[in-house]
Symmetry: C2
Subunit: 132 residues, 2 copies
């Protein structure tokens, strides 16, 4: 069931700090990788390529956990658990938006055969702000 994104989580996603995406490998073990992130209301938007480990994992099992941390104060963080939906729609525009946000420049890393997808994560459980 979708939940609203708490206000404290929003600046952690709107800034330029990479977040960590955790997914599930085929054997059920966790996989984690750093990713660029944007926010669309209460949803988290990520970008990946068809065939990448995280993309194959998400097609098999869409359950994810995303951690966003303020590097200036790691007690300010959010763990966002939710379900991912993959779509090719707007994938080129999204990676361009992410590149502008994170690097200030255009995205030029994809090859001619690369199929990019948008990963939309709808939050179902959010915790944070009290690491020990």
């Amino acid at each position: 069931m979708a939940v609203p994104l708490p206000d404290y989580a929003k600046p952690l996603l709107d800034g330029r700090t990479v977040v960590t995406l955790a997914t599930l490998n085929e054997d059920g073990s966790p996989h984690a990788s750093p990713v660029w992130a944007a926010r669309d209301g209460d949803d988290v938007l990520l970008s990946t390529l068809v065939g990448r480990q995280k993309e194959r994992n998400l097609r098999r099992d869409p359950r994810v956990s995303i951690v966003a941390v303020n590097p200036e104060n790691p007690y300010e963080y959010a763990e966002i658990r939710g379900t991912a939906a993959l779509s090719p729609d707007g994938a080129r525009e999204l990676v361009e938006q992410l590149s502008q946000k994170y690097t200030g420049g255009a995205y030029t890393n994809d090859g001619p055969g690369d199929e990019r997808v948008t990963v939309r994560v709808t939050p179902e459980h959010v915790t944070g702000m009290g690491m020990r």
Copy 2:
């Protein structure tokens, strides 16, 4: 099977940037949280409390993924997959060492009933340095 930690991963663990630990919840979904980390040779050392979500997850299933990122250049990162071993031995000394490294001061957050444990992660698969 244990593998050596690649040289590029070592400064990412030796610095003062928090890492993200991914574990498995009881329903098999991923859980991720920011944690302090230290390195003992090729092993990654983390600290947690008995009863915390990550501690309960690790007792049930010790498979983890740890992501360490250079915040100055997120293309410099390591994903360390491995197996965690939990022990109360040296747990107080470790959290003190971590606190000195990350905050420059003593660790004073635990309550009288808190049981702290050392989480030793032996790497089995390490990737990184080429995020897209």
